[in-house]
């Protein structure tokens, strides 16, 4: 199954507001051995929001998560995420192409705070693995 090319340019509804709890940041950091003594979250923490936005997008377009392999991720930050932030992420499909039976899906997610200010923008390339060749 391939992904509908008319999705390019479409922006999906933002995720429900997520309150950043210090314990969650601490847990995320501890998993990675990242030094953390409160305050600014590890740089990749906003993936929690971006991932949720991606999950909703995949569910809406009917793609199974297990068929997705991550191709690329880039973040640009306006400011660090800190405990107490209330964040949402809005995902836009920026590109779509097919290579060797796989869909290469480009997305951009903007993570904004309760005031609507941009905290971080993150772009992802998702490789949707086709079923061709699996019997080989």
């Amino acid at each position: 199954m391939s992904v509908d090319p008319s999705l390019v340019g479409r922006t999906f509804a933002p995720t429900a507001p997520y309150t950043v709890a210090e314990e969650r940041v601490r847990e995320f950091a501890a998993t990675l051995g990242h030094p953390y003594d409160g305050g600014a979250a590890p740089a990749t923490f906003p993936i929690v929001l971006a991932f949720e936005a991606m999950n909703s997008f995949l569910a809406e377009v009917g793609v199974e998560l297990s068929r997705i392999v991550h191709g690329e991720q880039r973040f640009t930050y306006e400011r660090p995420v800190v405990p107490g932030d209330v964040l949402t992420a809005g995902l836009t499909v920026s590109s779509l192409r097919q290579i060797g039976g796989n869909d290469i899906i480009g997305t951009t997610s903007e993570v904004t705070d309760a005031s609507g200010a941009l905290v971080c923008a993150t772009s992802a390339t998702l490789v949707h693995r086709g079923t061709a060749g699996e019997q080989a």
Partner: protein, 136 residues
């Protein structure tokens, strides 16, 4: 050692083990519960050689190295391509991810680090890069 980053500085390589248990903890902490990161059955069914680390675990470990080298300097940009999977065997040792960096540019209060992230001598991230805020 956040003191001064100078162009051409080679930062000390950091080595981080990643085990299956780490992947399970990361799945919980990040919300990324894609079974290719914990189930050999699902991973092989979609054509992977076995359970692989989340690309975001590898990128987060690169961010951890950056935080350790710079004493937690604010990250303004971070990103990479996930060019080769990090296979994580089901044993007590797991995989060893190594992160090195060279300071490419220091300008306008920002330092650009060209990272090199490898596992078993093979680059696993493509063009990984971090930009951090530095004094002066």
């Amino acid at each position: 050692m956040s003191a001064a980053l100078a162009v051409g500085d080679v930062l000390e390589t950091r080595r981080y083990p990643v085990t299956r248990a780490d992947l399970v903890r990361y799945a919980g902490a990040s919300g990324d519960q894609n079974p290719i990161h914990w189930s050999d059955r699902v991973a092989t069914a979609v054509g992977l050689p076995g359970v692989i680390a989340h690309g975001m675990v590898t990128l987060a470990l690169a961010a951890r190295a950056v935080a350790e080298w710079t004493d937690g300097a604010e990250v303004v940009e971070l990103g990479a391509k996930f060019t080769n999977p990090v296979l994580v065997p089901d044993d007590d040792t797991g995989a060893l991810v190594e992160v090195g960096a060279v300071v490419k540019k220091v300008e306008d209060g920002l330092a650009t680090l060209a990272l090199e992230v490898t596992c078993e001598g093979r680059k696993v991230l493509g063009a990984p890069k971090a930009v951090v805020r530095v004094d002066g």
